[in-house]
Assembly symmetry: C2
Homo-oligomer: 409 residues x 2
């Protein structure tokens, strides 16, 4: 008899039909004797509908009132799901974030959870009810309704699981787990039984967007076992664990992330002296452009260096224009840029203790005739920038080379 | 410098355009130096949309969850109106019913207000804000969201006005005041400057539905000056006062109400003995049929009597079927019924001190050749049942005879 916190996203509760399916699924867990707390998002489309209403008034609405507005989305879902559960003979009660005291700071539209009072929920569980809680929302210490920002329902789920010391926080979504890479690009991609929090963080931030990063961080911090599984199909999904499970054959690499949504810019022959990096990146940051990879190599001749970084492709033109001013001021040589690039990353905690992952990666790419433009590494990740046209080829070759391909049935 | 509580109904806030118009109106009052608390309903159509969602699940949804669901309607409106006010330079803040502690009993979907904590609102007013409060909703002592039932936003407005000792509770609606009778039937109907609470109650319950009865009762009980006025046009509207204002020419009659939505049923030759009335009406009540007028005359011969009552037209067949069983059991003669009837009522506190209103009414109707089928009276009201086809004729003739016609410009 376990206690599960189960989170269902907007697509999973997007219609009355789907809400009924969620209710049946929850009822199934109850019938096995488990206690269940359900966290739900707004029905898909609802949050956007509300935002559109606000934008008819004003492009920049009062944040406090924005939270007042959009928090109604989840409130509708919790009521409908509780009614449905009651209707099918599974006693349930719904609560808004404020009602179960999900206390946050006062940063409207992007609040952070400070504490949760779990007493009310524990009492209802004890009386045999399913407790349905609105995701994404809370209340500040002055009693104002706050929201956690887009995707915050995952965070609500994990935070409730931590507060209740739940056996598992189960995130139901439209995929049936975390894959070694995107199955649309590599048909041999396989579902992972487990993945560590660290690996998940690297994969998420690199484009394999299954879960919100914040909720994974949270799960790691509070040691909450997190499971991703499908709303629509049966299956065990993927368990995200805090620490790597020791296994006989510890895989070097857990997954391959990739994105074609970047562009790179290089300042050629920048003077090699302290402060240059910040004089280049300062104005880029001031222009609200976010920088991803940064690479600076040793000076050519003790005097000048090439400084390269990547930005998201939509910011390429803006960043280039900013750089032109910077280059003139610095007395640097010139700018080169390329927006037909892709980033491919290997991620895995096994990498920590094994040298040779990088050299093997480079050899695989070289064997395919793929030239590497940039390299950047962290403890559990190696990213390379290559020409965009080679992206799929690189992913498939690496997937096979690192033993990730699924065994055909 | 007055304090006004202004209530805007669903039609008045039915679109972003209309919400902007409401904001401009409120801003106008602020610019005259008045303090304003605004109470709003859900945007028109929204409550029905939510109820339809619930009914897709179940015809009889959990009342607590129903309140959770429909209370989102007003929450959307308060957020949108506050944003709009802030946008046009009129500082505003919104509150749900629970946030300003509109404490009710726990009768979900038809809760009654027990108390209001006005401190938060007073603080905001002091700091120069317009306070926008969600109508129709509150919170019970256990923290559950409750609703006051349909039309409850008027009640919220009056209750807030009472708690804040406001100078006036202004109910903005789609009519520009209370009329002597329905202008669609009698073109000479005129707007009343003032009307007493008692008169308003009789008119409201008889079909001139401008305000919710409960809010008028509430206004009378707590001595809140209540004004009905138009959201869409300028004008003073009608002031509803607790006590009649003494005037030189006190009118006998304030207004004429009428409805064609009734049917009458008579049990002929019922035994004239104690308990007959309850043996007839008991089964009718058990069948969930509401009875309006009841008339029983003296016995014909000391042995039997005719017992007549009216029900709403939609319940006619059901009530008749119930009566057939009752008649057999009572050993009464038979049943007669008519569903082509109308009820016309004269209302006025002036009637109290003036005899002769009834006889004048009967004479006016007789002069028009209209036969009276039933009569029922209260202290400030006389109602007659006539054939439906004569309804408009009766209303117009009485309107002229009792001096209610407007003076042509």
């Amino acid at each position: 008899m376990a206690l599960y916190v189960q989170k269902f996203g907007g697509t999973s509760v997007g219609s009355i039909e789907r809400i009924k399916a969620v209710a049946e699924k929850v009822k199934g867990y109850r019938e096995q004797g488990h206690d269940v707390v359900v966290v739900v998002s707004a029905m898909s489309g609802e949050t956007n509908r509300l935002i559109a209403l606000a934008n008819e008034i004003n492009d920049d609405p009062t944040p406090r009132e924005m939270d007042m507005l959009v928090s109604t989305g989840e409130q509708v879902t919790i009521a409908l799901l509780s009614m449905t559960l009651n209707h099918i003979g599974c006693p349930a009660i719904s609560y808004t974030g404020p009602q179960v005291s999900i206390v946050t700071d006062s940063s409207h539209t992007k609040a952070r959870i400070k504490q949760i009072d779990d007493q009310k929920i524990r009492n209802d569980l004890k009386e045999g009810r399913v407790v349905v809680v609105a995701g994404f929302q809370g209340v500040d210490e002055q009693g104002n309704i706050t929201t956690l920002g887009r995707g915050g329902s995952d965070t609500t789920g994990v935070a409730l699981a931590a507060a209740l010391k739940a056996d598992e926080c189960q995130i139901f979504t439209d995929v049936d787990g975390v894959y070694t890479t995107d199955p649309r690009v590599c048909s041999r991609a396989k579902r992972l039984e487990t993945i560590t929090v660290e690996e998940m963080l690297e994969l998420a931030s690199l484009g394999s967007k299954v879960l919100q990063i914040r909720s994974v961080e949270f799960a790691g911090k509070y040691n909450v076992p997190l499971r991703v599984l499908s709303s629509f199909e049966e299956g065990p999904g993927t368990l995200i664990v805090a620490e790597e499970v020791e296994e006989m054959e510890d895989p070097l690499i857990s997954g391959i992330a990739f994105t074609a949504n970047e562009a790179k810019l290089t300042v050629l022959n920048a003077p090699d002296m302290p402060g240059v990096a910040s004089r280049i990146l300062g104005p880029i940051g001031d222009a609200n452009v976010e920088v991803d990879m940064i690479v600076q190599n040793v000076a050519h001749d003790g005097k000048s260096t090439d400084f390269t970084f990547t930005v998201s492709r939509g910011d390429y033109k803006k960043a280039k224009a900013v750089l032109e001013g910077v280059v003139a001021e610095l007395g640097a040589g010139s700018i080169s840029g390329d927006n037909a690039i892709a980033k491919v990353s290997l991620v895995g905690v096994g990498m920590r203790s094994h040298a040779g992952v990088a050299s093997k990666m480079f050899k695989v790419l070289s064997d395919e005739g793929i030239n590497i433009r940039m390299v950047s590494t962290s403890e559990i990740k190696i990213s390379v920038v290559i020409d965009e046209k080679f992206m799929e080829l690189a992913v498939r070759a690496l997937h096979t080379a690192f033993g990730l391909d699924k065994v055909e049935d």
